[in-house]
Symmetry: C2
Subunit: 332 residues, 2 copies
């Protein structure tokens, strides 16, 4: 039994497609369809459980009620949680989420971006790697509704929901310095991402403000494609260097490092302090102690959706930049 279309309904009831469509869209009164007819159509529609084809609707209306959610990795708890919040907020407004993970590569990002646009998503929410601005500039010039979060690029003007990366990181690192840390290492994934670079800058500023010499060899980059092994190896290096604190630019590395510390460097676990960007519940009790910068994910989700809605409704171009205050959670 094939799915019924408006045409079928109309034929079976002896009305025109137009009439049926009007009734289904609650325009019956406005369009002078008699009460009797309206009821007849609605009853029948209910009886046969007619379901409108959204694709056809989208084609005609030029609106899909779909939003693209493009992040480095949807299974990263940070992006997963924000994704979930956004999903719920958008669902209330009748939108749904189509997802894409970029693995921080421009290739995948461009591929997905193209895919989203071809699928006529009504808007995009992105944590872009900003490796190459080409595609994003094109979309901007077409006034494609986009809101960026978590990541930024100094040469790209768009709608941003961010936190004060540099300042927050600096603050956090200063705390462990105040506690006596002198030799402080840092682990980060690709520093080509500007927001991560800012976090590293925050670390640098904290050290130099306290007259601690910055040793570049203590700034280690882990391989994003092999996070577990690579974090283990780089942490090993820092442990051999006898650092008394390690700073991490995101929560995934921190979680991996906590794991590695507990498995391979148990003896040093009380003598090392961690500093993490992004919080995780487990930091509340895990060793080493982790001082973390907690991003306000509910607020991020709320603002992102709000601004996206604004952008989709406005005809003029707007570029808002909202910088939220992250919360410093000291565990010393």
């Amino acid at each position: 039994m094939k799915k019924k279309s408006i045409k079928d309904i109309a034929q079976e009831l002896g009305y025109s497609k137009t009439t049926v469509s009007f009734v289904l869209n609650n325009k019956g009164d406005e369009k002078n369809i008699s009460k009797k007819t309206q009821e007849k159509i609605l009853a029948y529609v209910r009886e046969v459980n007619y379901q409108p084809n959204q694709i056809a609707k989208s084609l005609k209306k030029g609106k899909t009620n779909t939003i693209g959610y493009l992040v480095p990795d949807i299974s990263n708890p940070f992006y997963a949680k924000i994704g979930r919040l956004i999903e719920d907020l958008l669902a209330d407004k009748g939108y749904h989420l189509i997802i894409g993970s970029t693995d921080e590569t421009q290739e995948k990002e461009d591929l997905l971006l193209n895919m989203f646009v071809n699928r006529q998503v009504d808007g995009l929410i992105l944590a872009s790697s900003f490796e190459n601005l080409g595609m994003l500039n094109t979309l901007t010039s077409q006034r494609f509704p986009m809101v960026f979060f978590d990541r930024e690029h100094p040469d790209f003007l768009g709608n941003y929901i961010l936190v004060e990366n540099k300042k927050a990181m600096k603050n956090a690192v200063q705390k462990v310095i105040q506690q006596g840390a002198k030799k402080i290492g840092l682990l980060s994934i690709t520093p080509n991402v500007y927001s991560l670079k800012l976090r590293i800058d925050g670390y640098r500023e904290a050290l130099s403000d306290s007259n601690i010499h910055i040793e570049d060899r203590l700034i280690r980059i882990v391989d994003n494609n092999n996070l577990k092994e690579s974090t283990k190896a780089q942490l090993q290096y820092l442990m051999e260097e006898q650092v008394d604190a390690v700073v991490f630019t995101n929560n995934q590395i921190t979680a991996q490092a906590i794991w590695a510390m507990n498995i391979f460097h148990k003896e040093k676990i009380e003598n090392v302090k961690f500093v993490s960007f992004d919080n995780l519940d487990l930091f509340d009790y895990s060793k080493p102690k982790v001082t973390s910068v907690a991003q306000p994910i509910e607020k991020i989700a709320n603002y992102t959706v709000d601004i996206l809605e604004e952008v989709m409704n406005e005809k003029e171009r707007i570029s808002k930049r909202i910088v939220l205050e992250p919360k410093l959670i000291e565990r010393l």
Copy 2:
């Protein structure tokens, strides 16, 4: 500047829509379009960066290349990880994922199911709560391509990718019994979900096989809407009951309970053993020790996608049931 359509391209080049469409779909040779024309069209298309409207394509072809991914909560690491794996596998085949979180409620599930179907997804991957089979039965009778994972229902015949819930849980619980645990509590979210019930059954069987009296008051249900507080409260109860082991039916509760133990019951932490369904990295080092049943998520993702593809291609109805062996990770 509005987006160009095939019609525009055709007009600007002096060909018909048909010709342009043939060339764009690599049917130029087959359809006897001259090399010269093909090159001209392709060059122009590249020049103006023409992007086909997938919605129009989908409408005509009756295929959207979109798969719905319906789970209790996309931000649950288990579903997020499997989602990511599935995303990648499907991307290779030209499909993309649209997501929905049900919060284990039938209302949301039905709403999302309807939404997915109206949006003409080509198939569905679901961890259903199976509270009510109505909608699922309807879809089955329409031969809508669906693959179920993680959750099952005894009265529903469909394609399943599962693990041996009862047996695996029984096994795991037996390990802690062998280690001397005598009073064993259990924490679960809604036991209306059959797969969770099976896990609880496994716990029951392990106890009765070892002649341990099953005390129903030691089986506590936590409120899914308030996981953190509820887990804390129920754990508190079990601690007051002086249990020497606690069994959890999924990883989210286990993680919350570890948190609560570390914050509120530190003194008992060495004297209690945990048993968790689903593994987490942090179980490798966290206290209390956690013996866990690790689901083979790569295999689950692979099979799910494989079977879904089969179902989408076959015309006859197939109902496969694949039961995978989970890995028991003993940490005693």
